[in-house]
Amino acid sequence: MNTRSIQFRLVTWYAGLLAGIFLLLCALLYLNLRHFLENDLRDSQLRRAQRIADTLVLHIGQTGETTFASQVKELYEPEISGRYIRITRDDGVVLYVSGAPKDGSYNPADVPALPSSSAAEFSRKIKLPGGKTLLIAALNFRLPNHAAYLVECGYLLDPVETMLDHLFLQLALGLPMAVLVAAGGGYLLVRRALHPVEQITRKAEKITQHNLSERLPLTCTGDEIERLSHSLNRMIARLDDAFQNSKRFVADASHDLRTPLTILRGELENFADDPRFEPEMRDRVGSMLEEVVHLGKIVEQLFTLSRLDAGEAQTEWTRFDLSELTKTTAEQMSLLAEDKGIAISCDVGQSMPVKGNQVRLKQVVVNLLDNAIKYTQEKGAIHLRVLAINGHAVLEVEDNGAGIPPGALPHVFERFYRVDPARSADSESAGLGLSIVKSICTAHGGEVEAQSTVGKGSRFRVKLPLFSDDNLS
């Protein structure tokens, strides 16, 4: 998953924030509830203590301390309800203490004496052995003309804690689920929001130099996305303009370069073949003519490139066999190789149907072979291979020549690029052959790549979509 994508970051932020808020709310809920429940328990114990105190006041006045204990027992039946009651006089004598509760959940004997406190009311939580907690509310009071008493009422905190534990469990399970659902919803929303961007991307992807007149879809929502498509459209318009200008420039340059070249060539040809002139002079004129022809060739190749840019290779498509084309072209050029003592071996197996402009694709084979022959030393070897790889027809031209330095390799398909600038002087070509190869391959929805090791040789690999009856449409 792409963790830097807008989609991922938005959803992560959203889910994170949501989880934070949920967590805070749950914590508040939990703590408040806990506080409330404990307070409630404490209050009820305190009220009971108060009632006991009231009874005590009444009884001690009438019947004395001894009968009081049985009164309390009778009135409150603490053993049945699991309550804890203890009444202590200020000289430390325990007047009454409730017995073990019926369910045996704790032993009253485990409850230690409370440290004396001067406060009228106070409460304590007492950890009993066995892990249980007893909440005790205590009341200090003094009878007129009598001693002071401490009435303690207690109750186990267990039910509260069980309830809080249940709540905690539910929150702990519910919270991640809620966050997950929210994140899923957020993901869908973000996707929906980014859908127009997706559309714009897909359309922009399809715009190449050949259909610069097309524009991106507008959402008409007045938001950032509409602004984005507007600015992209304006950018495409500017590109279109620049491209049209450069095409016009090439067309104009075409006319303006060719006419003087025609004149030069025509005049020089008259000299070169005129027997009235000295052979030496004719030879010099011939040398000039060679340069004029070379110049014409560069101009020609430049226009070939500009025609390819204009989409020429996308016309006159036929279905043909790349293996056959490669084989015949290699045969036609074999003499060029033989002349340098270079052996061309051809490894073309079954037929390899492709669809395209046959003249231009043949030029690909011619240019690659010519290149290989040019840069392979005498007695070298060139190996041609046509094979099918993953639905692609692949043509490989491999030589054992000088190779291309790694620094130059990424540039070999650039116009006018030369691996060895020193070679430009005596070499015939203008450094456009491989650019033409690349243009033609691109126009056919294919690609060309070069691999090379200095001193061992180079391999050029052309990949074209394999034609089959399935993709006829």
Binding site: S254, K297, M333
Partner: protein, 237 residues
């Protein structure tokens, strides 16, 4: 250029519409040397006027003209139901242009810069005349090329040639003495995919020379530096 003799008594009349005066001069000079009668117009209107007024055997039209364009003249001439052969001469060679002009009725198309020899060959082809031999046996000096059996003999001795070597030799022999440019040879013997690969012609000519010329004292294959190759019977240097 004394070798391209006009055989017919009728002198062919050609109209050239070309606004570049220097280009026009070269063409006119060359055509006059071939004994054609040539009229030149330097703009579209006068070109159309001339084409409309006189009866020409051939019209050579530049496309980019002041006034009427070459394409417009072409359309006007064809609308007149004239069947005069028209050769388009232009610096533009966009595919679209080419197709459009052929549809309008151009007979041939030549892109600048061209070798004059190529213009001559195309004119000859359009006029269906000249020393373009149609006989089944071509003879240049003591070289004999039988077009039916594709047998080549020199001084009665049979020479074995590969298919490409034969095509090359036959092409050169169709117009002995004419200098063929490498581009013309490539287009005729190979195909346009080999454009720019002119050294292939040199290699083949060298191989051809080894078979046809080297064993014999008189050399038939002639190199004209910067221009191309020709096959002559040795009378010329």
């Amino acid at each position: 250029m004394v070798y391209s003799l006009v055989k017919e008594s009728h002198i062919m009349r050609i109209l050239l519409v070309e606004d570049e005066k220097k280009v026009a001069d070269i063409i006119v000079r060359g055509l006059k040397a071939e004994r054609y009668a040539v009229d030149v117009c330097h703009d579209g209107e006068s070109g159309w006027e001339a084409a409309n007024t006189y009866d020409y055997d051939l019209i050579i039209l530049d496309l980019m003209l002041p006034g009427l364009t070459g394409t417009e003249i072409l359309e006007k001439v064809r609308r007149k139901n004239s069947l005069v052969p028209i050769l388009i001469l232009t610096a533009r060679d966009g595919m679209g242009d080419k197709i459009k002009n052929f549809e309008t009725g151009a007979d041939d198309y030549l892109t600048k810069p061209f070798a004059f020899a190529e213009l001559q060959v195309r004119i000859k082809a359009l006029l269906r005349r000249g020393p373009v031999s149609r006989s089944s046996v071509l003879r240049v000096g003591d070289l004999e090329i039988d077009r039916l059996s594709q047998n080549v003999r020199r001084a009665g001795e049979k020479i074995e040639l590969t298919a490409k070597e034969y095509s090359l030799l036959e092409y050169l022999a169709t117009q002995p003495g004419r200098v063929f440019s490498r581009t013309m040879i490539i287009e005729h013997v190979w195909d346009q995919s080999f454009e720019g690969l002119t050294n292939i012609v040199d290699v083949y000519v060298r191989h051809l020379r080894a078979k046809v010329d080297d064993p014999f004292p008189a050399k038939l294959l002639r190199t004209v530096r910067g221009v191309g190759y020709s096959l002559t019977d040795g009378a010329q240097t």
